[in-house]
Point group: C2
Chain length 246, copies 2
């Protein structure tokens, strides 16, 4: 597959990484620069689209740029209904021989709204007209900043949301590294759990990783629990020593 | 942190992604282009360094390029002894005010030899002279090619090596998506396990993902088990239906 430019009639789900414009891949940049239509999602609560800000330097005047405002609700039917509309829009542009890029924070297949759009598009576009370009996910950028090994040798890494603390505690039994997404509202509960497990000095938290002015980093979850943290906060826990450390 | 160029006296562990030169991030490219010294690891059994091939277009004549041949042995002491030598070399270049980039396939903190080097370097360099630049890991590129959702909503994803099939079977109880690395020698055992679990039609295998001529993709592990597959083969299994699919 040649990804030097966006092809007419094709759709690309493009991961743009966690925030820094230089964490895009070359492939992502070339596709964004050459697309006829660029769709940037924005959550209903946000003032502006973070993914659009990240790619601002790669856009140009002849492009149609669509900010798609989506609801972040725990209602799969509502979510799908919203994405079906966008899928129809993407399909109409592709049928008119336009190339369409949808940008998404992080990686399109890791807790990303792109998953819904790709799914809805199956009905409209042939498989070989749908493309996914991977992007750096927040947990990778977080590990990089902290120099935290995610997995080596026989290590198991679990990646999951911190929605249910009981499920998080259960997961700790089955991995060496635990990566938690969507920690914003759970930092206090997480800090208490880590304390109880004797793991309070084995965690790292990042908010708005690689988003220049907003980035917040700490090893002290108990202290962090006193503040307000973004929905997208990431926590990495070294649950146990690894074979290569002993 | 400004990563527009490699700074004198600094070391950078740089992920270069799974194989395609356009899956490097802009940050990775700029650091490689401006580094005084570039270290590319090569396993003892390989004829050439894959990571060096990926970055060939970004190298220039004034750079010192070092191919570091390492043993892939299950002997942590031997492994560390080899990396301690490289750490000494990196330190000597940094002390002479050179900038040093070590490139690594995929992401430097996910099953990567960079982990050893970063660890050994703690003794030689101050923390703020050691940098890690994340890269696209093979499982992300594999998911992208197959359009396979890795995680959404409450999904848990486990990433682990396929070394021990009993541990793999155990992991299936605790995730929605299972990502297995280093599957090359385990494809037959994996195919049998998936068959026994009724999951034979829910797996995808990739070898040499994004390595142009060598890439091999299949959903049929039983068939794939008849061939010889590279050590770095990746398998993604959708272990169970996810909330948003039901």
């Amino acid at each position: 597959m040649n990804y030097t430019q966006a092809e007419p009639g094709h759709y690309y789900a493009v991961g743009v990484g966690p925030g820094a414009p230089d964490l895009l891949t070359l492939r992502a940049v070339r596709l964004i620069e050459t697309a006829d239509v660029v769709i940037a999602p924005r959550s209903r609560v946000a003032h502006k689209s973070v993914s659009r800000q990240i790619i601002a330097d790669y856009l140009n005047d002849r492009q149609e740029v669509i900010e798609h405002v989506y609801a972040m609700e725990r209602d799969t039917e509502k979510t799908y209904s919203s994405w079906r509309d966008i899928a129809g829009l993407v399909a109409s542009r592709c049928e008119a021989d336009k190339s369409v890029v949808q940008v998404t924070l992080g990686d399109p297949l890791i807790y990303s709204t792109s998953c819904y759009l790709i799914d809805c598009l199956q009905k409209h576009l042939e498989r070989d007209r749908i493309h996914v370009v991977p992007g750096i996910s927040a947990f990778q950028a977080t590990a990089s900043v902290f120099h935290e090994v995610l997995a080596l040798q026989e290590d198991r890494m679990i990646l999951m949301p911190a929605t249910d603390i009981d499920v998080v505690e259960h997961a700790m039994e089955h991995c060496e590294t635990l990566v938690l997404y969507k920690c914003g509202k759970r930092v206090k509960q997480l800090a208490e759990l880590l304390d109880r497990k004797g793991l309070h000095n084995r965690a790292a938290l990042a908010c708005y990783i690689e988003q220049e002015d907003r980035q917040f980093l700490t090893h002290d979850l108990m202290e962090a629990a006193k503040g307000e943290h973004g929905y997208l906060a990431t926590v990495i826990v070294r649950v146990r020593n690894k074979a290569w450390e002993e």
